[in-house]
Every structure is written in structure tokens, then in C-alpha cells.
Amino acid sequence: MNFSNTTILPQELPTVENVHFNPLEKAYLQVSRISFGISGVIILIAAALLFYFIKKIQLPVIIFTASAIFIALSIYGWVSIGLSFKLSGYALRDKDILFKRGWFMQKVRIVPLKRIQHVSLQTGPIERKFGLASISIYTAGSDEADFTIRGITMQTAEQIKEWISIQLNGKPQ
């Protein structure tokens, strides 16, 4: 009978701390800021229309307060995107995939390859313009992706997708 019961010391385990995270593509910072800018312009137009048509809110106090909030949120969003970009990254290991993002609340997500059900690759119009793509990782029981790695080149995304598929099924998806 073959039976082994080797002692595993905690210090011998591979650690999450020593993982080298690959940074996202620099172009992604531009993509994020352009998307943020577009959202800002849409909100600005909506607010302007609201102030133009509703006479009751055409008061200096309301206009000043709304403008101040808008400017403060815009500055916060702009800075936040930059900080979040610096702290985001992904890593592929033999047996799992890691992704970290966020600066105010930093989240490191780790999914063992064994638990992945499928992966999908997608790219939006702005991302496409910069040659970028995103890859989503799905596990069981959820209709939504567990996490999406954004800000990687199309080539890298395809390579990752193929690598995961090979790890899962031994052949590309």
C-alpha cells in the first residue's frame, strides 16, 4: 500500500506575498481617463439641461454647490484612476491566477486554476483603439465573472486565454 504523510511546514508553502505582479499596459491609464472624461461630459450635459429647464433650481447657491461637488469628484476620480493604475497588476502561477486592484480598498483575488469553469476575452471600442483587451475568469455558481483583468494587450489576453484553456482541458478553447 502506498501511503505518505509528509509534514508540511507553513514557511515551506509558496507565499502570495512573493508573487511578482505584472503591471497593466500604460495605455490603459489613458483608456480609463478617456472613459472617465466621457462619463463626466455626459453628467455635465445632463446637469446643464436640468439647470436650463428647471427654473426653481437656478439659484446661485445650488449652482455653486453642484459645481463644487462636480469639480471635487472629478479631481478625486482623476487622481484615483492614477493611483489605482499604479497598484493594479496580475500574475499567473502554475496552479492559480492572481489579480490586484484598487488603492482606497485594495483587493487581491486569487483563483485556483482547478476552479475555473471558463474564460472569456472582450474588447471595447476605446480599448480596441489602443490595442487593448480584457479577460474574464468565471468559476461555478455565478453568472458574473469572478474578476476581469483589464488593460492588457490583445496578444497577451489571447495568450492568457490559451494558457488557461490548456491548463484546464489540455487544449485551447
Binding site: 508553502l13 502570495v16 485594495q106 487581491v108 483575488r109 482547478k114 468559476t139 461555478a140 455565478s142 453568472d143
Partner: protein, 494 residues
């Protein structure tokens, strides 16, 4: 007993539901329509017969009914299912056609359910639960019982989960609720919830009645102001008592309808749970499908040793969340006898295990309690002036609640999984088995980063378990350890 393989060939031919499905579906549609349109119907019956508006509305309602009948018949006609190449195929819809294909090996539960209507026609409803990540809702409203049992047997025997046929193997009754237990369960239920629902419904009904009768309560109050003001407290008291009594009675009726004849049978690797007075529910739960197991009791139930065992099986979305099973259990001892099907390790006693960091309750009080208090203070100040300062009592209670929660919270890790004991007035035990983990999240906000703390979140196919505010080094070690266990072992996990 009939061998399912004998009938296998017939399942290759697309087939319809039992014709009783038409009546059941129609009843369902009528009930839904009635729920929405009852104020309009009352209005029609109360208005004079020569009223032209009433006739028009009546015609519209009649039109709706005809459309509903046609739609139901067509839906029934185009709703066909069969088995092809180890896939369960379902074709439905006549305007918007839809074809679903579910690999049989992905089906992990087949549920049979009999409501009053189904019992009347001697048919059963069949629903499929699959593990795929796409939305696949299969609901066959009416199938003859024998046929449904046969289909269930066939699907499960071909499923990867290899669920044994619960009719062949002898089931041992492991838990049952008797009438006294039902009464205990209903009396200790959250009557506040029923109270709020009832109050909401009453206000809604009052609103509808006002619209029908063009009733103006402000005018009425003006007319009878003297009398009403004198009796305000008396009337309010009476109304409160009536609503409270009705709430308790509603809770009791709801509980009896839902949990009547509740029993759990065990056949060695599957639980068969059946319950319900008019609607007979039957759930098959293989042990392996349990993702997270927890049991909890509110303050009153804790005193009478009455617990609700919450079984989280696969499914994150809201539709599947409803399939999570709640088992009322009459003692902690009974729960502890059921738990080994999920986790063999001894459940730690209250007070044993590790604590989270005290920063948890301080931060919670500061970040959540303070803004709520300030907001309430602002609102109350406009209403009662300086007396709004008493809201500080709420802040003190909030802080005390968070502190007590932190003091009671315990977590314990062993080779098999994680155990959490928590609660403030009530109590909750949560068990997570490591092999069920499919994602780990290490979260740190700015404060946690500067104080070397972290919140670790273990995500399974049936929900997640969070361990807040532990030392960052401990969180990392725990993540490494769980990843090692999950990644180094091959075994069934879903």
C-alpha cells in the same frame, strides 16, 4: 421496479407537458393578474351598471383574459422537451423562441413539487438545477407523477454527481418537526417582518379604497377633528394591538403552511427533505453539493434552543439563492449530529477560538455609526430642536453593539475548514470546508494597510465567508495554506 433504461428511447422524442399544465399555467396567470388588477375589479363592481367607463374597463379585462388564454395554450403547445446525445433539450416560446441545451452531467438536482393544483390533477412540477454558469431555468409545470419520477431517475443516473435513487435505498429519518415544534417555530419567528408587510398591505389597500370611493381622510379628520383628537391614543393603541395580533396569527399560518410535515431523510450520502401543507416540496441534497453550512437563532430561539440550519448549495444569483435550504432544528444537539455530513471536525464551543482585532468595532462605530448619528441629528433638529441631542444614545448603543459583536466573535481553523461563531442578541455558527473554496480575496483599506490588518474573504460556488480585521500576516498565511490544500488535492468539490 421499472428500469429507467427501458423507457430511455421514448425520451428522444420531443414531448409536451401533461394537459393539466394549461389549467395550472392559466391559474397562475389569473392569480398574477388578480394581484395587480383587484382594485380595478372592485371599482367595476361597485360602480353603477350603466357607467360607460366600467364597460370599457370590463372589455379591456376580458381582452386581457382572452390574450392570456391564447398565450397559455400556445406556450403549452410550443413547450417541448427531450433528451438527445446526453443533453436535456428544451424548446419553448412561440413569439420569442428559445432552445436550451443542458448537458445531463451538469444537472445536480431534480426537484419535484406538488402544489394544491398539481395534487388536484395528480401531476407534479419538475425543476432542474444545473451547475453551469449560464442562466438555465427549466420548469415543467405538470407531469404525471410516475413519468416525472422516471425522468428524475434517468437524469440523475446519467449525471456526474451519481446521485443514488432515493426510492431504492432505504432512507433513515434523521429529523422531523412535530406540531409542538411548529408552534415553537412560529411563535419565535420574526413577527416584526410580518407586522411591516401587513402594515404595508393595509396602507396600500387603504390607498386603493380611497381612490375607489373618492374618500378624503383630511376632510374627514377636519369634520370629526374634535372626536378624533380626543380618542387618538385610544384608537392608535387598539389598531396597534389588532395589527400585532394579526401579525402573530399571519406568522403562525405562514409557518404551518410552509413547514408542515417537515422531515429530513438520510440515505448515506444524500438528504431528502420534504415539507409543506398544500404545496408539497421535496428537495434532494447530496452532501457533496453543500458549499457552506450555518445555523442561527434569534434571541428568543436561543433561549428555547431552537435553530435554523441554513444549507448553501451551488448558486450565487438570486433565483438560485432561493434554492438554499433552511432546516428548522429543535436543539443544538440535533444540529451537531447532522453537521458531520459536511465537516467531520468537532464544532468549537462558544468562547473558544481566535478573536478578530479590536480595530473592527472602533472603525465600524466611527465609519458607520457616526455618519448615521449626524444625519439623524440633522433631521431631528429640524423637528424637535435641541432635544435631538438625545440621538447620542443611539450612537452609544451602536458602539456598544459593535463592541459586543467583536467580543463574541470567534474563529477557528483546522485542516478541514473554518468555523465562525458570531452574533449579538442572536447567535450564528458558520462552517466552511476548505475544498469548497474557489476564490480567495485579500482586502485592505487605507487604515488596514497602515495598521497591517486585512479582511479575508473565501468565496465558494454557494456564497462567501468573510473574516474581518485579522492581522495581515495571518491573512496571508491562511491564504497560502488554503491555496495549498485546494491546489494539491484532487477531489469532488461541487
Amino acid at each position: 421496479m421499472e428500469n429507467p433504461s427501458d423507457k430511455y428511447d421514448s425520451w428522444h422524442i420531443p414531448q409536451r407537458q401533461s394537459p393539466a399544465a394549461i389549467i395550472i399555467m392559466l391559474m397562475k396567470t389569473a392569480f398574477n393578474l388578480l394581484k395587480i388588477a383587484w382594485p380595478v375589479l372592485i371599482l367595476i363592481f361597485l360602480k353603477k351598471k350603466n357607467d360607460e367607463t366600467g364597460s370599457t374597463v370590463m372589455l379591456i379585462v376580458l381582452g386581457f383574459c382572452i390574450v392570456a388564454v391564447i398565450d397559455t395554450i400556445l406556450s403549452f403547445w410550443f413547450y417541448r422537451f427531450h433528451i438527445d446525445n446526453n443533453n436535456f433539450i428544451l424548446n419553448k416560446g412561440w413569439l420569442h423562441k428559445k432552445a436550451l441545451s443542458i448537458p445531463i452531467q451538469n444537472i445536480h438536482a431534480v426537484n419535484l413539487e406538488q402544489s394544491l393544483w398539481q395534487q388536484l390533477f395528480n401531476v407534479t412540477k419538475l425543476t432542474l438545477d444545473s451547475s453551469g454558469s449560464e442562466k438555465m431555468e427549466v420548469k415543467i409545470h405538470a407531469l404525471p407523477i410516475k413519468k416525472a419520477e422516471l425522468l428524475k431517475q434517468l437524469l440523475l443516473s446519467n449525471s456526474e454527481s451519481k446521485i443514488p435513487d432515493t426510492h431504492v435505498i432505504n432512507n433513515a429519518l434523521v429529523h422531523k418537526l412535530n406540531n409542538a415544534d411548529l408552534l415553537k417555530l412560529s411563535l419565535s419567528a420574526n413577527h416584526l417582518e410580518a407586522f411591516v408587510i401587513l402594515l404595508g398591505l393595509s396602507l396600500n389597500a387603504l390607498d386603493d379604497i380611497k381612490r375607489i370611493f373618492s374618500f378624503d381622510e383630511v376632510e374627514l379628520i377636519r369634520t370629526y377633528s374634535g372626536k378624533i383628537i380626543n380618542q387618538t391614543f385610544f384608537v392608535a393603541g387598539i389598531v396597534f394591538i389588532i395589527v400585532a395580533v394579526v401579525s402573530v396569527i399571519t406568522s403562525i399560518i405562514r409557518t404551518i403552511l410552509k413547514y408542515y410535515n417537515f422531515n429530513v431523510e438520510d440515505n448515506g450520502n444524500t438528504w431528502k427533505i420534504s415539507f409543506g401543507l398544500f404545496t408539497n416540496h421535496q428537495k434532494i441534497l447530496p452532501y457533496g453539493k453543500i458549499q457552506i453550512l450555518s445555523w442561527r437563532a434569534n434571541w428568543l430561539r436561543r433561549k428555547i434552543d431552537f435553530w435554523i440550519l441554513h444549507v448553501q448549495s451551488i448558486g450565487h444569483n438570486e433565483t438560485k439563492r432561493k434554492q438554499h435550504i433552511q432546516i428548522p432544528v429543535t436543539s443544538l444537539k440535533t444540529i451537531l449530529s447532522l453537521v458531520p455530513v459536511y465537516q467531520q471536525s468537532t464544532v468549537v464551543k462558544p468562547g473558544e477560538g481566535l478573536q478578530i482585532e479590536p480595530a473592527y468595532w472602533k472603525r465600524k462605530t466611527l465609519i458607520m455609526g457616526l455618519p448615521i448619528t449626524l444625519l439623524l441629528f440633522g433631521i431631528l433638529y429640524l423637528w424637535i430642536g435641541i432635544w435631538s441631542i438625545t440621538i447620542i444614545l443611539f450612537f452609544i448603543y451602536f458602539g456598544w453593539h459593535a463592541y459586543k459583536w467583536y467580543k463574541i466573535f470567534r474563529w477557528h481553523v483546522n485542516e478541514e475548514g473554518l468555523q465562525i461563531y458570531s452574533g449579538m442578541w442572536g447567535r450564528k455558527f458558520t462552517l466552511l470546508t476548505w475544498k469548497k473554496v474557489q476564490q480567495i480575496q485579500l482586502n485592505q483599506n487605507l487604515y488596514q494597510r497602515s495598521h497591517h490588518l486585512a479582511t479575508i474573504n473565501f468565496i465558494t460556488a454557494g456564497g462567501n465567508v468573510e473574516l474581518p480585521y485579522i492581522k495581515y500576516d495571518t491573512a496571508k498565511q491562511l491564504a497560502d495554506y488554503v491555496l495549498y490544500l485546494v491546489e494539491s488535492k484532487n477531489g469532488e468539490w461541487m
